[in-house]
């Protein structure tokens, strides 16, 4: 009997998970979040807040780094997935694009894309179609298909990493820090593509971002993570208007705190950090 998928149920649900690295370091202290089907959800927060860990807990790449989910559970399409291997998860349609791109440097761009189709068994023709689909979203990759990924630019590598994930025909992409080390214009370009993939291909996104400004412009919902806990969540447009978010993450002083003296300390620190 075919299982009917409830179209209104969230595609991904994380229930109160705790993650410990190396049996001692507690990184996530009870994180819960949901990704609705067809949504773009952003996890925001500073370095070391636990954004990457949250994504890796879902994709099950944690185990390869001696991390483990000790409490809570994670449901993808209504099924618990903690015991699945990353490979099984990819087959079910949930794939992660890791922070820092992680393209295969000694493989060509096209070979990189083809590795994304490794888990598929639906034949050469369909994979070829999807390759063309990726090339229509990322025309730049088509130009550079024969060059080694290691020699392409940062933006091209990010596109290559997203395209590679697309080749597995995912329903959900866990996108970690897509803006890292890229020029603002390129960041904009990448987020535009994320948006059109979301609208045209129906891919849901859970993305971790430090660049709060752009993430909240493209996401539908946001969670703010601080040292392993979710401190605030809400619809993206509301978060953007939230005074605390404005001050702490968007670098804009709120009402009554406009004096230079009040924000000076913060701005200076921000400049050094970013």
């Amino acid at each position: 009997m075919l299982q009917t998928v409830d179209e209104t149920a969230p595609i991904l649900r994380i229930n109160n998970i705790e993650v410990i690295y190396n049996h001692v370091v507690l990184v996530l202290k009870g994180v819960s979040l949901t990704v609705p089907r067809g949504g773009i959800v952003a996890i925001l927060g500073a370095n070391g807040a636990g954004k990457t860990t949250t994504l890796k807990a879902v994709s099950n790449l944690l185990k390869a780094e001696r991390g483990e989910v000790t409490k809570g559970n994670i449901q993808f399409e209504g099924h618990e997935i903690q015991e699945l291997s990353p490979s099984d998860l990819v087959k079910r349609g949930c794939i992660q694009v890791m922070e820092g791109r992680h393209c295969f440097g000694h493989l060509t761009v096209e070979e990189n894309l083809m590795t994304g189709a490794y888990t598929r068994g639906d034949g050469r023709a369909k994979i070829q179609d999807d390759l063309e689909m990726v090339y229509t979203y990322f025309p730049r990759l088509k130009e550079r298909r024969k060059s080694l990924a290691g020699y392409t630019s940062g933006g091209e590598q990010q596109m290559c990493a997203i395209g590679r994930a697309l080749m597995s025909r995912p329903s959900t992409i866990l996108l970690d820090e897509p803006s890292m080390g890229l020029a603002p214009q390129l960041v904009e370009e990448i987020f535009e593509i994320v948006k059109s993939l979301n609208e045209n291909e129906g891919v849901s996104f859970l993305l971790a971002e430090q660049n709060t400004n752009i993430a909240l412009r493209y996401a539908t919902y946001g969670y703010i993570l601080e040292s392993g806990r979710i401190v605030l969540d809400g619809v993206a447009s509301e978060l953007r208007e939230n005074e605390d978010v404005k001050e702490f993450y968007l670098g804009v002083g709120g009402e009554g705190r406009k004096s230079f003296r009040d924000v000076k300390h913060y701005k200076r620190r921000k400049r050094w950090l970013s």
């Binding site: 994709s59 790449l61 390869a64 780094e65 001696r66 291997s85 990353p86 490979s87 998860l89 990819v90 087959k91 794939i95 992660q96 694009v97 890791m98 992680h102 393209c103 295969f104 440097g105 000694h106 493989l107 070979e111 083809m114 590795t115 994304g116 189709a117 490794y118 888990t119 080694l148 290691g150 020699y151 630019s153 590679r164 994930a165 597995s168």
Partner: protein, 333 residues
């Protein structure tokens, strides 16, 4: 051509042939090192084990016969005339694949994410285990291996080359072992097949992806455990080929496992991560060794052949630590 020059050519060609034999062993190291970053100390013993198994199957030996006889007081040795060579080779390959699978399941899988040195220690353990296991299974006597490859000097080549020297010269032609020629052809076929496989198949692409970035490979859904079984099986196959060639040349005996040590300078020269490097490195070491023995040897009293390769490797370590063809780190400017 003068006899002196013809001698030089003969030594050179024999060096190349000897080099190919080293390359066959080095190849197994490179495959595993590339895919999993493990320096497989047991590669030489794997070649020995493969050769032992092949001989055992071919001659119809009963495995573990000493053990069985000791426990049950029986006296069995053979179960018949043995298998045809082709069937024996195929069965040995099945044994090597089974070995790879067992190894992944009971050793490697438990050592995921450990330091390379720990994995290296595990392969040392594997080497000694396999040596003892091979002994227990097939006995420790020296065996001859004959898979039907032509061997002995080539008279045809001797006649051809004798004609190259002046009529009155005291020259009797070049000696080339036919077995070495077969080894060369087999090595060429093997390397071509391996490169085609890794370049044009999905599994080959996955192997290269894993060699490049474990984590990223994991993230796109490539199962590392499956890849490791495949890699160790291929390394087992290469060990089988090396075992056949070395076994046919010098008999199947426990010193066969020491050919692993000969592969070390080849790897340092050619780079640990390059298949062409293993071939070219082997050729350079082979030729260098033979030429040094013939021309420098008499000046210092001979026996250079045994250590010359290591000195070359040492010099290379000083000037080009990644080897001739080793992976350069891709850096964008």
């Amino acid at each position: 051509m003068s006899p002196a020059f013809l001698n030089f050519i003969e030594i050179f060609i024999n060096g190349l042939m000897a080099g190919i034999m080293y390359s066959l062993v080095a190849l197994g190291f490179v495959l595993i090192f590339k895919a999993s970053g493990i320096f497989n100390f047991a590669q030489g013993v794997m070649a020995l084990f493969a050769a032992l198994t092949l001989v055992g199957l071919q001659t119809g030996q009963v495995p573990f016969s000493h053990l069985i006889n000791a426990i049950f007081g029986t006296d069995i040795h053979d179960w018949g005339p043995g298998l045809p060579t082709v069937l024996a080779i195929l069965l040995t390959m099945v044994v090597m694949i089974a070995l790879a699978w067992v190894l992944e399941k009971f050793v490697l899988n438990h050592l995921i994410n450990q330091e390379p040195i720990i994995l290296f220690m595990a392969t040392i353990g594997l080497a000694y285990f396999l040596e003892g296991f091979g002994d227990l299974m097939w006995g420790s006597d020296v065996k001859t291996l004959d898979v039907g490859l032509p061997s002995g000097g080539s008279f045809w080549w001797e006649d051809v080359t004798r004609a190259w020297a002046p009529e009155d010269a005291d020259y009797w032609g070049m000696y080339i072992d036919k077995l070495d020629i077969s080894a060369t052809i087999i090595a060429v076929v093997l390397v071509t097949a391996l490169s085609l496989f890794s370049q044009y198949t999905a599994t080959g692409r996955a192997l290269r992806a894993v060699a490049d970035d474990h984590q990223a490979a994991l993230s796109v859904g490539i199962s590392l455990r499956k890849i490791w079984v495949i890699v160790w099986s291929i390394a087992g196959f290469v060990a089988l080929v090396a075992g056949i060639m070395w076994g046919s040349k010098s008999g199947v005996q426990f010193s066969l496992s020491l050919i692993a040590l000969k592969a070390l300078p080849v790897l340092i020269l050619g780079g640990f991560t390059s298949i062409p490097g293993a071939i070219v490195g082997g050729l350079i070491i082979g030729v260098g060794e033979k030429l040094a023995e013939a021309y420098i040897g008499p000046m210092v009293g001979g026996a250079i052949e045994n250590w010359f390769a290591y000195v070359v490797a040492l010099a290379f370590l000083l000037f080009r630590p990644q080897g001739l063809f080793g992976d350069r780190i891709i850096e964008r400017i």
